[in-house]
Structures are given as C-alpha cells and as structure tokens.
Symmetry: C2
DNA sequence: CAATATACGGAGACACTCTCCGTTTGGCAA
DNA sequence: TTGCCAAACGGAGAGTGTCTCCGTATATTG
C-alpha cells in the first residue's frame, strides 16, 4: 500500500472515531471525510460502507474487550456478582457511541456482517464468563452465550435510545442475571 | 375540517400503513404521499413529522392492545405462563413493522414523544398484568411495569434487527420471566 | 529521471426531507 | 344558483446525505 494511502486511511479512522463519538453512528460520512481532510472518493475507496469503517474503528477495541473480561474473571465473588459485573462491563463496551448497541447486537448472529469478527470477540469473552459459571454449576441449563449477548445487548439498545443512566439499567440487568442463575 | 382534507388524511394513513408494513418505519415519506396520491406538502401539513403519522397509524392499534391484554388475563394458569403469554403478545404487538419495537420502546419514558399516549396504553396493559401477579404474590419486590416494557421491548428490538423467529425469542423471554418471578 | 501503477478529489447524479407559495376548491351566504 | 374566500392542495426547489466516476496528481520502481 502506498504511503499516502496508508496515511489517509489512518486519518479517516481517527476522524470517524471523533465524529461517531460526537454525533453517533448515523453521522454523515462526508463530514468524516471533511474532518479527515480528504475527498469523499477517498473515504469510499478505503471503506466501501459505513460498517467497514465501523470495523476499522473497532480494531483497537478488541484489546479493551479482552482486558475487560480478564479483569472481571480474576475477581473472586458470588456468581451473581460476577455475572452482573460482566453485564455492566458489556453494556459499557458496546455503548461507545449512539447507535452502537443496536449495531453490534444486530450483527451478533450475522455471518456476513463486516463487523462479524468483532462480535465474535465479544461473544468469546462472554463464553468465558459462561464457562466459569458452569464450572461452578451456577447457571441454569441451556443458557448460551449468544442469548446473554442478545439480552444484555437489548437492554443496552433500549438504554441507548432512551438515554437511561446506569442506575436505571442496573435493575434490568439484575432481572436477567437472576433469570439465568440456578 | 373540509371534506377533501379529511379524505386525504385517511388516504395518507392507509398508505402509510401499507408502506411501513412493506418497508419498515424508515420508509420514504414521499413514497407514502405518492402512494396516497397527494403532494408532499399535503402529507407534511397533516403530519408534521414521521412520529405524528406513526401516532395516527396506531389509533386503531389501541383497541388491539386492550383486547389482547383482556384475553391474556382471563386465562387461568401458573403465573409463569401468564407472564410469558403476555410477553409473547407484547412482542407481537410492537413488532407490526420493522423499526417498530425500537421506536415504541424508546418513546416509553419520553413525555414529549408524539406517540406517548400509545405507549401509555401499552404500559397500562402491562400494569394490569403486574397487578394481577402481585395479587398472587408471584412477583419479586420492586418489579415495575416500565421495567418489563423495557426488557421485553429490548428483546423485541433485537429480534427485529436480527430477524429472529419466535423460537429464538422464547428462551430470552423465559429468562426475563424467571428473573421477575418470586 | 522517466514511466506507470496507484491513489486522490470533488463535481454531480440520485434520493430523501421539508417548505413555500401560486393555484384550486369546498362550503356558505346571499 | 351563484359568487366569494378561507382552507387546502401540490409540486418545484432548497438543503443535506450517499456514493460514483473519471480527469488529475503523485509515490514508487528501474
């Protein structure tokens, strides 16, 4: 890849991070190009769709997910606390910008989504939590990681759309946790 | 109101119902006007925003909600069955067209939303289910109707976005029900 | 220092939202 | 019935966003 192409690619990702953070996932892509100081054509050549750009933005986010689940898992405590701790972390991780929760959760089962690898990271992290809880026989039968992702993702989507704060989200997560624990 | 105005209003509502059912809540409003055989100006004069149009579409839906909760409540059975029965009904009611679950659920707490009265109907119906279950001391403490709406609405949103079928939604609703029952 | 493959940029086609205002019409009063 | 005019209509067009195309510029290679 040519040096100028690489440079523009980085600029676009940085600009997109900024713009999406400020204005949410539905922000104008022309605005992203403008902010990056490149033409619209350059943006679309590097990132044919909004989702592909999203995927690039989330590249570094993968590490954050893995760090977060590590941190949650080292903590000793009751299964309920572990589960709730992961749920709250999960919500925070997918709520980076407006529209994020719905976007990520809807891509969860979709093989053809450009951000599928990112969803797999999140899903794998959740699976580690599930495995731990199953070791301790703390979970009901037939509870799958993907269901957790959908339920918690659903709560995060609603919270995102309705501007709920952590205090309002907490009891919703508690219901889900209690419904999953043996 | 002049006769032609009334006629165009009805035509617009009918066209919107059609178009939203076919293409979801994000469908083009110009297309609605076209389908109704009126100019764009006429549409926007009658319905200044998409949400106001949505509200008009839902006028008849109010009766369906009330009938549905009546039907659910006459059924004798275990609290869990009652709750799940309402949850499935609820999901069906708000999933009339793509984008509906998110739209309705996000308006749930918003006093200024044009569809707030419709949300109140749904919320009141849910409250009746909550009241019944509390009579039977079947619910945990501090479970509120609005939380049910948010949780079930969240599941419906995810199902809507990911095209989940009833079989995939059912276990998610079961988790929520189990988390709410004493 | 060419030569050339690679990448750039932004004009412009197309779609959607919403407004403005010249034109038409329904309903009433004479 | 006729004439008036408030009420309603409609669609052109301004504003904004998506995405493509292709003439132009430049990084790299020999």
């Amino acid at each position: 890849m040519r040096a100028d192409a690489l440079r523009n690619r980085e600029r676009l990702i940085e600009a997109a991070r900024e713009v999406f953070r400020e204005q949410g996932y539905d922000a104008s892509l022309d605005e992203v190009a403008r902010r990056a100081g490149v033409g619209a054509g350059t943006l679309y050549r590097h990132f044919p769709s909004r989702d592909v750009l999203m995927d690039a933005i989330l590249q570094s986010w993968v590490d954050r997910v893995n760090d977060a689940v590590d941190k949650v898992l080292v903590h000793e405590g009751a299964p309920r606390d572990l589960l709730l701790s992961w749920f709250e972390t999960y919500v925070a991780l997918i709520s980076m910008h407006k529209g994020g929760p719905a976007k990520i959760t809807s891509a969860m089962g979709d093989e053809s989504s450009p951000i599928v690898t990112k969803c797999q990271v999140l899903s794998a992290a959740t699976q580690r939590v599930v495995d731990r809880l199953e070791e301790e026989h703390a979970l009901r039968d037939r509870i799958e990681a993907v269901q957790m992702c959908r339920l918690v993702g659903g709560v995060a989507s609603v919270a995102d759309n309705s501007d709920l704060d952590r205090a309002a989200v907490r009891p919703l997560l508690e219901v889900i946790a209690d419904g999953m624990l043996a």
